[in-house]
């Protein structure tokens, strides 16, 4: 089964949904679009409470230093300052962290990265708070920072937990085997920042019972609540996290370095406290993508069939562990890519340094290794004199093949079909074949580009990524569906950070219950947990929970009618607010069937369990996998080194299309994020100090940088274990696009291109 969808952006949107107007498969527009466009969408930074105070955080100006003394007197004596808090004021557990609790709320004896929180202030004016935070006198003894992850192994421990966060020595097959052809390469990936469109912001309001409510753009409210409660020394019931407008996220939002001080300040002062981070604080405060250094050796036979892959993967986790252990597991497991590799030996390390902490960013781990193994495939093709796409075709995996972790790929894995689709897609015209007014050369309109210096390159990338949490993570989600009259309500703590879950939940209920008006309730931690909004989880587990709850309500609604009509409930259909029997003879309206009653049901969805990787990197660690093929077409100005991505052709394995327009948007967003990582996004540091934490120093792709994105094929092969058979779609293009861009630049310039983002110097052919 496949769906040939030829959509070229930005002209997409005319006929994506076919005839359906609601329910599964319809191009229902996302519900938050109109308020966001009209400026009425309430972002977290718009929060207000009567008599609120403003917070400011004092952050470390050093990457590595010992704290000798903290003197808060000057700050406390400033008029308008209500309270100053430091590590001494944290009543509960003093460390927190996503997977490993190794991060203090406020630095105590050591600061381990630039921007680490040391103290916080609440004052009656934001400027007073900022000045007071600057007036906190911290005496530091500056220590040498460890900024090269390769030196972390031999350096003095930066943390009581040591410098090695995780080591996975994956062994699969026979180490003695060698290939007739061997290629080696070194690859480096830079530090991409999530750069959310809205910086971190929140409001903490104390409760009469001694608890606190935190209003913030959380993407994992229950985990945030538990962390906050532990740090405040409160029972979880007395802390409530209320999710307010999330202004977009490329993973989950690392807001805890702001939430925790806010809650503490509110508890101390008994007043509501607000904080809205500026862009610089945002860059310093949240986690980034892991800069990664990889060494690869690929062995193949004379026909290009892969024999063995040896790799070393070193991920720079920065000062704290965060989710680095998970990122490393993904990197090691997918180190060979979607190819059949009979023997694989991969050593992976995640190490601690004094660089900014790394954490979750869409496709973490998988994206870094994709750039490396695809670079190796290009090298191998060059060595063998083969077409790069042909070499890949000879090695692609399919359902039933093994990952190097020993796990059998049981889900659909249509990699060959995906590659064929992008290979066969028509190529975009060359600039010289277009009218001169339409030329868009590297350098942009009015730019310095000259046709004689521009070379075109075409490159391929194949990538894979896991969906849902891995290695035994409990991926449960709970949802409640209620029908009252003509209106249905969904209650599920799954945060919509732009992935479109609230629109999808609405479609699911429309599909199952035939009710047009569906409300999605606001989210807080009084609801049962739904888990973090990462790894496409919510489409799968929360979507599954919503569907199950809706079906239970449907049964409650139809059972009495079925008895009355004297037929099985399965023979009744609901559509447009009417219930009709299979033969159309008997019918009634939903309102009549409800008879003034309110029906509701709560259901859970929990996918099949996974297991951690063992000491040789073996284990069934993943619930599901998604695959993607990208063909990049680039123009490179070989004198100036500027690169223009002309077109990205994407073929993706999506299981089932639930909302065509939303799906296309997610793929386009993923490709653009990947193009950013390939060409420009890199948060630079010098000796651990973040340079240029602003959008002048950290460029993001604009509409002019973003390529035309052509979705050439969406393969709809149901994944039988997933609700609706759908695979989450956001991460796979992020993983694959950087590798494809690098391959295309290689083809255009003949340079090896081992480092992302690609620097202008690295694409100028050497004389």
């Amino acid at each position: 089964m496949s769906n040939d969808a030829t959509m070229a952006t930005p002209a997409a949107g005319t006929d994506l949904g076919g005839a359906v107007s609601s329910g599964i498969g319809a191009s229902v527009p996302a519900v938050d679009i109109p308020p966001k466009v009209e400026g009425t969408y309430p972002y977290a930074s718009d929060l207000w409470a009567e008599g609120l105070l403003w917070a400011a955080v004092h952050r470390s100006p050093h990457a590595h230093a010992r704290i000798i003394a903290i003197d808060t007197t000057a700050a406390e004596e400033m008029p308008g300052v209500r309270v100053v808090v430091t590590h001494e004021d944290v009543p509960g557990g003093s460390t927190h962290g996503r997977r490993i609790a190794d991060r203090p709320v406020f630095a105590e004896d050591l600061v381990r990265h630039h921007g680490e929180p040391v103290a916080a202030v609440a004052a009656d004016h934001p400027d007073t708070a900022r000045l007071a935070a600057a007036a906190i006198a911290v005496e530091y003894e500056i220590l040498d920072p460890v900024t090269d992850p390769q030196l972390a192994f031999s350096a003095e421990p930066l943390h009581p937990d040591g410098n090695l966060i995780r080591h996975i020595p994956l062994r699969f097959g026979d180490e003695a085997v060698t290939g007739e052809v061997v290629v080696e390469g070194v690859y480096r990936i830079g530090r991409q920042d999530p750069a959310p469109i809205g910086a971190e912001a929140g409001l903490a309001v104390p409760r009469p019972d001694g608890g606190v409510e935190i209003y913030t753009a959380s993407t994992d409210p229950h985990a945030d609540r538990d962390t906050a409660a532990a740090c405040f020394g409160l029972e979880p019931e007395r802390v409530k996290v209320v999710v307010t407008g999330v202004p977009g996220a490329t993973g989950d939002r690392e807001d805890r370095s702001m939430q925790l001080p806010l809650g503490l300040l509110a508890l101390k002062t008994g007043c509501p406290v607000k904080h809205a981070a500026g862009r610089e604080e945002s860059f310093l405060g949240h986690a980034h993508r892991h800069p990664t250094l990889m060494r690869y050796r690929h062995h193949a036979d004379a026909t290009g069939k892969l024999v063995k892959v040896e790799a070393q993967i070193l991920m720079d986790a920065g000062a704290y562990a965060d989710s680095s252990a998970d990122a490393l597991a993904a990197a090691v497991s997918f180190a060979c890519g979607p190819y059949v590799v009979p023997h694989a030996f991969v050593e992976g390390w995640a190490v601690r340094t004094n660089n900014p902490p790394a954490g979750h960013l869409r496709g973490e781990g998988a994206m870094q290794v994709c750039a490396a193994y695809e670079g190796q495939m290009d090298k191998l093709a060059a060595q063998l004199g083969l077409d790069p796409a042909e070499l890949r075709m000879r090695n692609v995996m399919a359902t039933g093949d093994l990952l190097p972790t020993g796990q059998t790929v049981t889900c659909p894995a249509p990699v060959a079909e995906l590659l064929t689709a992008v290979r066969e897609a028509p190529l975009p015209p060359l600039p010289k074949d277009l009218p001169q007014e339409e030329w868009l050369l590297p350098g942009g309109p009015e730019g310095a580009g000259e046709p004689e210096s521009v070379r075109r390159g075409v490159g391929y990338g194949l990538g894979m990524v896991h969906m849902l949490g891995a290695e035994g993570a409990d991926e449960v989600s709970t949802a409640t569906v209620r029908v009252d009259g003509p209106v249905a309500t969904v209650m599920c703590a799954a945060v919509d950070h732009g992935q479109g879950f609230s629109t999808l939940a609405r479609q699911i209920v429309q599909e199952v219950l035939g009710v047009d008006e569906v409300n999605v309730a606001p989210i807080d931690t009084d609801q049962p947990p739904a888990g973090p909004a990462t790894h496409g989880r919510h489409t799968w587990v929360s979507g599954g929970a919503v569907e199950r709850a809706a079906k239970m309500v449907r049964t409650q609604l139809l059972q009495p009618l079925a008895q009355k009509f004297g037929m099985s409930a399965e023979l009744l259909t609901i559509a447009d607010g009417k219930i009709t029997s299979y033969d159309g003879v008997l019918s009634t309206t939903v309102a009549e069937a409800l008879d003034g009653k309110e029906l509701w049901a709560t259901a859970q969805c929990r996918p099949h369990p996974t297991e951690p990787l063992d000491e040789t990197g073996q284990g069934d660690a993943f619930v599901g996998l998604a695959f993607c093929a990208v063909r990049a077409v680039v123009d490179v100005d070989v004198e100036l080194g500027s690169v223009k991505v002309v077109e990205m052709a994407v073929a993706q394995d999506v299981g089932k299309v639930l909302n065509p327009r939303q799906l296309a948007t997610r793929i386009e967003a993923g490709v653009t994020l990947g193009v950013g990582a390939a060409l420009m996004e890199n948060l630079r540091t010098q000796d651990g100090i973040v340079r240029h934490p602003d959008f002048a120093g950290y460029p993001l792709p604009t509409a002019l940088d973003a390529p035309a994105i052509r979705i050439v094929k969406l393969i709809e092969e149901r994944d039988v274990v997933a609700p609706f058979g759908a695979k989450p779609a956001s991460a796979a293009p992020v993983v694959t696009s950087p590798a494809a861009v690098a391959a295309a630049v290689r083809a255009a310039t003949g340079r090896p291109v081992g480092r992302l983002p690609i620097r202008p110097q690295a694409v100028i052919p050497q004389q």
Partner: protein, 279 residues
């Protein structure tokens, strides 16, 4: 304060010397938002219509300091001073070009300011309005080079740029396709009346640089009365001459790799700019 004439603006600055004049605010407000600047008062220049356009005087255009980049980018302006129009079109995304002004670009004096090499190549002068409404003139290069500064209460009223009636080119390299800060930029103007080529390189130093020897050398090669063409080798040599004079070899050792790349970039820009001007 929102004066509606230059005179009123000068008076407002005289009475409140701590006030900061603001036009588009694209640089100033960014500094305010970043907490680098907390002006006690602002003098908004947006209502002064006399500096939002331009007029002519003795073969020169008197450009109002409040001309936006968007306005300078339009075809009618491009026909007058193509180098400045090119710089204005390359200066950032549309939102910035709609608000940012010529005067603001000069007074901010950022090394990557796009209008600056164009003004340096044009050898433009500033007309400064003093506190008592008195006018004085100041070459742009003197202000940018720190030779002369604005005094308290002064503001830029106009920029006087020559109308040369010959090809002019502005080019910048950003490494990307979308709007970005210049890695290097080159403005090049031909002055057929004086048989001169004037070229300025932006973004590689604190202020635009003029490779005077390279200009004179290449001007002597051009047959001004017959076709104004140059051989590709001459264009290439000009580019390298310009680049070497802006980024000279160090006294000892070799240039670091990044500087070598910058030099190649400047050479390519200067070669292409002259090629386009002579084509």
């Amino acid at each position: 304060m929102l004066p509606s004439s230059l005179e009123e603006a000068a008076a407002a600055l005289a009475t409140t010397p701590a006030a900061v004049p603001v036009a588009g605010g694209t640089d100033l407000m960014a500094s305010v938002n970043a907490g680098l600047l907390r002006p006690t008062a602002l003098v908004g220049l947006g209502r002064i219509s006399e500096i939002r356009g331009w007029h002519y005087q003795d073969g020169h255009a008197l450009l109002g300091a409040g001309l936006t980049h968007a306005r300078m980018g339009r075809p009618d302006f491009a026909a007058l001073i193509p180098a400045l129009a090119g710089a204005a079109r390359a200066a950032g995304p549309p939102q910035i070009r709609n608000a940012g002004t010529l005067g603001g670009n000069i007074i901010t004096g950022d090394r990557t300011g796009d209008a600056l090499p164009a003004l340096a190549a044009l050898e433009a002068d500033l007309i400064i309005v003093g506190p008592d409404g008195a006018l004085r003139e100041l070459p742009v290069s003197h202000l940018l080079g720190g030779v002369d500064m604005l005094r308290t209460g002064e503001l830029i009223g106009f920029v006087r740029a020559p109308l040369l009636h010959a090809p002019q080119v502005f080019m910048k390299a950003t490494g990307r396709t979308g709007p970005g800060r210049a890695i290097a930029s080159v403005a090049l103007v031909l002055d057929p009346a004086r048989r001169g080529v004037r070229c300025a390189v932006g973004a590689v130093g604190p202020a635009p640089m003029r490779p005077l020897e390279a200009e004179q050398w290449v001007a002597s090669l051009i047959e001004w009365d017959a076709g104004r063409r140059l051989a590709p080798e001459a264009l290439q040599a000009f580019g390298e001459y310009v680049a070497a004079s802006c980024i000279p070899d160090p006294e000892e050792g070799t240039l670091p790799a990044a500087a070598q790349h910058l030099r190649r970039t400047v050479a390519a820009l200067a070669r292409r700019a002259l090629g386009r001007a002579l084509s």
